[in-house]
């Protein structure tokens, strides 16, 4: 455990009871978020990245999730042991969250001014006038055009990008130490996505926040994160700094993801990952990725690999028997060569 970590999640386990039995949505996830830094949680749909985020704010319990183990320490306090009232103080004050779909996260029958001032009056105890003035200041901070007029408008009168700005203004209203951004730009157009990402970076620097960025878009990760944790089937399979990860992925899944992205500068054949993400209620034995893995060995289907530091690669960790045995293998290169030999499909 790093002593200076703002948030430190250890061995988090979240389960859901379904008709198909117990689903381990998150199965032993550990990571640290450092103050002022951005950690990206990347993965495809169903890998448990959003469930992890919801668990940090303990919002997952109301969705039927059961936090079955582990600890979530924020500034030295274990959030899993707090009572409802202290948890409510943590939410918004210290940790804020923005969601993917800004339209469903805003209340359609209140003006955006109402919704932001509500936070200010609850958490910071401002009077009505003070809250309104502060709301306008916040809207200016997120570069909302004409904040004095917009403050009295309803969510449906705003475009998707402006709604996301409102969500960010609301999240920032108590100057949180940690911002959890769950797919903040997935619903937006490319040019608007660029605006919002730019804004988030600017605000992060100005307010010195830590950001936990949850996304499936490796492009967004590359442009915004300091560290990256790649998730697959409820576990972290690779954890590295953003440069290390994109320069030389050390887990076959990460390498596969990067090889399946179209490149802009040259037209190389895409190397997809065969098969599809396994059903969370029927995970394969051993390493959950082994049926799709081109580097699998006999032990992969027998026991689960642990997330361990790679020899000669400093802090970075992977959960893969193959790369732990051969830490310097160039996975991307071998994937391409294999694809060329085997041909498409």
């Amino acid at each position: 455990m790093t002593p200076e970590a703002l948030l430190s999640v250890r061995d988090l386990k979240v389960q859901f009871r379904t008709d198909d039995g117990l689903v381990r949505a998150v199965d032993g996830v550990s990571f640290d978020v450092l103050p002022g830094k951005t950690l990206a949680l990347v993965g495809e749909s169903g890998c448990g990245k959003s469930v992890t985020a919801m668990s940090i704010l303990r919002l997952i319990e109301s969705q039927g999730g059961i936090i079955a183990g582990g600890s979530i320490e924020f500034q030295g306090r274990n959030l899993l042991e707090l009572d409802a009232a202290s948890m409510r103080r943590v939410r918004g004050n210290d940790i804020a969250m923005i969601f993917q779909e800004p339209m469903t996260s805003l209340n359609p029958v209140y003006t955006i001014g109402n919704q932001i001032s509500e936070v200010l009056r609850w958490h910071r105890g401002l009077s009505e006038q003070e809250a309104r003035a502060e709301t306008i200041r916040l809207l200016e901070l997120v570069h909302m055009p004409d904040p004095r007029q917009r403050v009295d408008e309803y969510p449906h009168q705003l475009s998707g990008g402006m709604r996301q700005r409102v969500m960010i203004a609301m999240a920032l209203s108590c100057e949180p130490l940690l911002l959890i951004a769950d797919e903040p730009t997935t619903a937006l157009d490319v040019t608007v996505q660029a605006q919002i990402l730019e804004l988030m970076q600017e605000l992060q620097q100005r307010l010195h926040m830590a950001v936990l960025l949850i996304t499936h878009d490796l492009g967004v990760v590359a442009g915004n994160a300091d560290d990256v944790a790649v998730m697959y089937a409820g576990r972290i399979v690779e954890h590295a700094s953003v440069f290390e990860l994109f320069d030389a992925p050390k887990h076959p899944y990460t390498a596969g993801l990067l090889a399946s992205l179209p490149q802009l500068d040259h037209r190389a054949t895409l190397v997809p990952i065969a098969g599809s993400v396994p059903d969370a209620s029927r995970l394969p034995p051993g390493c959950a990725f082994h049926p799709r893995c081109r580097f699998r060995m006999s032990e992969c289907s027998e026991k689960e690999p642990e997330l361990l530091p790679l020899k000669g690669h400093g802090q970075r960790t992977t959960a893969c028997f193959y790369t732990q045995k051969e830490p310097d293998a160039d996975l991307t290169q071998s994937l391409r060569m294999q694809e060329e030999e085997e041909g498409p499909r």
């Binding site: 495809e44 749909s45 570069h143 055009p145 004409d146 009168q157 475009s159 998707g160 990008g161 402006m162 157009d189 490319v190 040019t191 608007v192 996505q193 660029a194 605006q195 990402l197 730019e198 499936h216 878009d217 490796l218 492009g219 967004v220 990760v221 590359a222 442009g223 994160a225 953003v242 440069f243 994109f246 596969g256 993801l257 990067l258 090889a259 399946s260 992205l261 179209p262 490149q263 802009l264 037209r267 054949t269 895409l270 190397v271 997809p272 990952i273 065969a274 599809s276 993400v277 498409p344 499909r345």
Partner: protein, 541 residues
């Protein structure tokens, strides 16, 4: 490439009317696709990119005549699609197919995969029975789904497999041309690469042409030969894929390209971040539609719409900056210089005009809002428009008051007047609709009630009059008793020529005359009523 384009689109336009009110008054049009033209050659893939609302999906559907275009021409293999009859179009559709974005809603959940793919084969008479099953299995094998799955239902497949089934359905009839409408956008990264590779393999194997519609530039770049960039219903730039990425000519393309998040952490700088959002296609900006957000806009841009400028082989753009650069070999350096210079000029201007946001940004924000408040383009000032609205509202309220007071005719007239004012002045929201409807209902009720009670009263009065007359006649008759039964009969006939009257409940009035007995005298006892419930009018002799 052959000399004849497979698909040739000229001035294709699709406007969706915006209507309002009960009578469907047309108050404007969403100009979803506004005069686009391009050619698609055999075996070519043309990428169509744009942000949401740019009209790319509408364009794809209008080309296939899945929606009827407003105007323009689409020629497919030399035939004008708009001129085809329904039957001919159905035949032509064998050659033109579409793959949809959402693999969940585009497959019928109640049909087996065999029927989903085989339906077109059956309808067009390609195969049936065992031959059909064999063809379906072959198609499934082509898209990489095990043939044994043909008897399964769509819900048993993952998203990627469903999209493969959608592709199998599209290639079933051996088409030449497929519109891929965001065909890979809903899929996860690893699956998306599988489907892209499949589309490319099928294109090469079956000599297909694709119109590849997507908002994802890197995917479009990967699969397309040429790319058309759409903004607010127009194609602003069209070029070879590599050329477009190397030398983008239009400022919109330039900013679009710089906004793509690249999977490369060393590539963080130099974003051209556009201000504002895409304006509404209800009332697109004047002149060049991009001028409200363009970092390099100048005086000419809001005033005149740029012409299509041919910059080089296969490279066209719609931008005033490119004016005069046709056929110029060094056009890109010159264009780049012009745009950069204008951008610097605009930045300086924005900085000079003090802090509140750069000028183009303010403009861009002001426009969509104004259009949202007044979709019809009438240059009324606020006050001038408010006056008739207040009048109309006052009329409705006065009318309601009149109805409550019982002056229903006056009330109806007032409400009607309000609606006439509203329609004549073309108010976008003349009256609170529910008050109007409520008023109409109340009026209708009151009117029908009044009419009913009127008629009931009149009838009752008539009956009573008739009865009074009968009674009078009887009284006269009783004063001079008839001398014989025959005379009685005649008298009865005179009094009741149409038979005996009834009361409003259908009971007979029985005429109870003091009939003479055998001796010719009249007894006080009359005959008993015919029916038990008949009324007996007894008048003492």
């Amino acid at each position: 490439m052959s000399s004849e384009p497979l698909l040739s689109v000229r001035h294709l336009t699709k406007h969706f009317p915006v209507t309002r009110g009960v009578f469907g008054r047309r108050v404007g049009a969403v100009r979803a696709v506004d005069d686009i033209s391009f050619d698609l050659w055999p075996k070519e893939t043309l990428g169509l990119v744009g942000e949401s609302g740019s009209g790319k999906t509408t364009a794809g559907r209008a080309i296939l005549r899945l929606i009827e275009p407003t105007s323009g021409e689409v020629r497919f293999a030399g035939r004008d699609l708009a001129a085809l009859s329904a039957a001919e179009l159905r035949q032509q559709r064998r050659e033109m197919q579409i793959i949809f974005q959402d693999p969940y809603s585009s497959l019928n959940p109640r049909m087996r995969v065999r029927d989903i793919i085989g339906e077109a084969l059956r309808v067009h008479g390609f195969a049936k029975g065992d031959a059909l099953e064999a063809q379906v299995r072959e198609l499934l094998a082509k898209v990489g789904v095990p043939g044994a799955f043909s008897s399964r239902y769509p819900h048993e497949f993952s998203g990627g497999q469903r999209q493969r089934i959608g592709i199998a359905r599209a290639i079933a009839l051996n088409p030449k041309f497929i519109v891929c409408d965001e065909a890979v956008s809903a899929l996860d990264v690893s699956i998306r690469a599988q489907v892209i590779n499949l589309l490319i393999a099928l294109r090469d194997e079956l000599s297909l042409s694709y119109l590849f519609i997507s908002h994802d530039l890197s995917v479009v770049k990967h699969i397309s030969n040429r790319i058309a960039v759409m903004y607010l219903g127009q194609i602003v730039e069209l070029a070879d894929a590599d050329q477009l990425f190397r030398n983008p000519a239009h400022p919109y393309t330039r900013s679009l390209l710089s906004a793509i998040p690249l999977p490369d952490p060393r590539h963080r700088q130099a974003r051209v971040v556009l201000e504002g959002d895409v304006p509404t296609p209800l009332n697109p900006p004047s002149g060049c539609r991009f001028h409200t957000r363009c970092p390099a806009a100048f005086e000419r841009c809001p005033q005149e719409e740029p012409e299509l400028i041919v910059l080089g082989a296969n490279h066209t753009t719609k931008c005033h900056h490119a004016d005069g650069l046709e056929g110029n070999d060094a056009w890109f350096e010159e264009l780049d210089r012009r745009i950069t210079k204008q951008e610097e000029l605009n930045r300086a201007k924005a900085a000079a005009s003090s802090q509140p946001a750069p000028a183009p940004a303010q403009q861009s924000q002001a426009r969509p809002r104004r259009t949202a408040a007044a979709p019809h383009s009438q240059p009324h000032s606020e006050a001038a428009r408010d006056k008739p609205r207040h009048l109309a509202r006052a009329c409705v309220l006065a009318g309601l008051l009149a109805v409550v007071l019982g002056l229903w005719l006056l009330g109806a007239a007032l409400v009607l007047a309000a609606y006439v004012i509203a329609i004549r002045k073309n108010l976008e929201r003349p009256l609170p609709a529910d008050i109007g409807i409520f008023a109409a209902l109340v009026l209708a009720l009151l009117v029908s009630d009044a009419v009913k009670s009127q008629s009931a009263q009149t009838r009752a009065r008539h009956e009573l009059n008739a009865l009074a007359q009968h009674i009078e006649a009887y009284r006269t008759a009783a004063q001079s008793p008839p001398n014989s039964l025959t005379e009685l009969g005649w008298r009865l006939y005179e009094i009741f020529p149409d038979g005996r009257p009834t009361d409003p409940w259908g009971r007979l009035y029985t005429y109870d005359p003091p009939s003479p007995d055998r001796d010719g005298r009249i007894s006080s006892e009359g005959p008993s009523p015919d029916r038990k419930d008949d009324l007996v009018v007894r008048i003492p002799p």
